[in-house]
Symmetry: C2
């Protein structure tokens, strides 16, 4: 029925071990044997069985990733980069759902590790900052790569952009457009990104010699609705901002929607900027000015790092920092 390594060995006239060695690219195999095996593999259309390979305990060739019950744009983009990188390294990506509302990510990780024995784990915010999860993986000896970690960033491997600098640059760009009252809408407290982006905003204000008016900072949680609410609060001020920098793109769209609902023109009456630079930032009119994170490349780097750790047998991996891009598009303009 299914072709196994035995079939290949039989056709090549060699033992299964020799075939196995060829399969694993080991040295100490004659070129002649290698050729015969290759021929047999092609002729038979043979593929290694992941289960048999994983059973002896060494490797499962599975990389796991926890995904929340709502998949935001950037998670989909991350997954895409990760799955492609895994594939090209001969790994498979298994996605595990978990209920982010209960906050029991560590349990989901433990369950996945016990039943699936993934060789590595990919962690995205806010799970990448969940210390119970890191402890679980450390204990199980499963290496992990973290996207944008903010607490104990030295643990495992990590991939990030300099979000403080990115937010500073964006705020500064708004200043250079002539804006002097710049509003900010923050993110949820369990995302390290929330603090970074706020910090960048504050730093830019200080650099530009602008007073930090607490009224200009509205809370949010990275959802469209809180962008709307934040915009409503900011635009309702006696002295409203002429530009609003939302902590992410979803909220920025909420700001745009609210501005337009209030009869304000974007960017005529108020400039709007976001953060992330996912696909949705291109699907509006005017197109959203935003900070683009190379999420797909970050995912590939994360997968690459974790696979490297598997090969090396380490729990410690590189901390990579990728470049962001300021995308100044039509939702921002010179201050009136």
């Amino acid at each position: 029925m299914t072709t196994t390594i035995k079939d290949v060995a039989a056709r090549a006239g060699l033992s299964v071990m020799t075939v196995s060695r060829v399969l694993n690219g080991e040295r100490h195999v004659s070129d002649q044997a290698r050729d015969k095996v290759q021929e047999a593999i092609e002729a038979l259309g043979y593929r290694r069985n992941v289960f048999a390979r994983g059973l002896p305990g060494s490797r499962s060739f599975l990389i796991a990733m926890l995904i929340p019950e709502i998949i935001p744009d950037y998670v989909a983009e991350f997954q895409q980069g990760a799955v492609e990188q895994c594939r090209s390294a001969g790994y498979h990506l298994v996605v595990q759902p978990f209920d982010s509302r209960t906050g029991m990510a560590a349990q989901a990780v433990a369950a996945a590790v016990a039943s699936l024995r993934p060789d590595g784990f990919l962690l995205i915010p806010p799970v990448s900052d969940d210390l119970a999860v890191l402890d679980t993986l450390d204990e199980a000896g499963v290496p992990y790569a973290r996207l944008a970690p903010s607490v104990q960033p030295q643990r495992g491997a990590s991939v990030a952009v300099d979000e403080v600098e990115a937010a500073r640059a964006m705020t500064s760009a708004l200043f250079e457009l002539g804006h002097r009252r710049i509003g900010f809408i923050g993110g949820p407290p369990d995302h390290g990104a929330s603090a970074w982006r706020l910090e960048g905003y504050r730093r830019a204000l200080a650099e530009c010699g602008l007073a930090a008016d607490p009224q200009l900072i509205a809370p949010g949680d990275f959802l469209f609705a809180t962008g709307e609410a934040g915009a409503e609060a900011l635009l309702g001020l006696a002295e409203p901002p002429t530009a609003i920098f939302a902590g992410n793109d979803d909220m920025a769209l909420g700001v745009m929607a609210t501005a337009q609902r209030l009869g304000l023109s974007v960017p005529g009456d108020v400039s709007v900027a976001g953060f992330d630079g996912g696909e949705i930032s291109t699907l509006t009119w005017p197109q959203l000015t935003t900070v683009r994170q190379p999420v797909q490349a970050m995912a590939a780097a994360a997968a690459d790092a974790v696979i490297g750790m598997v090969d090396a047998g380490t729990m410690q991996g590189p901390a990579r920092r990728l470049d962001f891009t300021l995308l100044l598009r039509a939702s921002t303009a010179q201050a009136a």
Copy 2:
């Protein structure tokens, strides 16, 4: 190191077979034995090893899904519904990337089947209509569930909404709002949905006694940019439509953007409707009128169907049809 079925058996004072039987919920196990095993499992924190389970050839407890290199909204939503349903049935979801540009989906499926031996496959458009993929899976004896199949819909299991009726209803709703010139932007030819939605549009026009003006039908491929292009063509007509029904939400957003760019108000000057009802349809102002497909529920139904087929050992599954919802929101209004 890791707890195995032997550890459980030892602690329970029983054989591994009895433990295995309890694990699989088989009959012919005394309550006493069952209790002891349960106790041991809990005490040891034991979890079955997926690899050992899959190796004997019976089951892998893996469900595979092919995802394109660009993950549209609805694919993310589908995945979400699928992964959750899989989890609750004790299965894991493995995502396999494939390059939709090369059109070699069947190869990706064959590779996944050979190396991963998934118990079932979930197919989304346009792969759900790829006969080479179906043939591959039939040959391998791997059951599959198809989302919105349009060719040979009886093969495998399927989940769909009545898209013809949905498009008819939406067009008809626009007619009832007083629109007499209703434009339509179509989808790519390899999506069955393209033909269905166009058919529904045409059927509604006929029912309402409206002439089918070919000028009012623009081509598209379900991407934002083609929505923009289609809108440009339609709104540039000597007698432009007062409402545009785009074949999906992405294109509808393109229509809105173009209308606004041209200085037209939505819905004041032109009403816009989409199809799919994903999250993005709520992230604009005005909010998009659209047909909502319960994609997550459809995914759950698909996963459910395929798992049922695995249990039953059939390649033939149910054809389920779920209800759509007409979401009449702010992007459409009474014709002027």
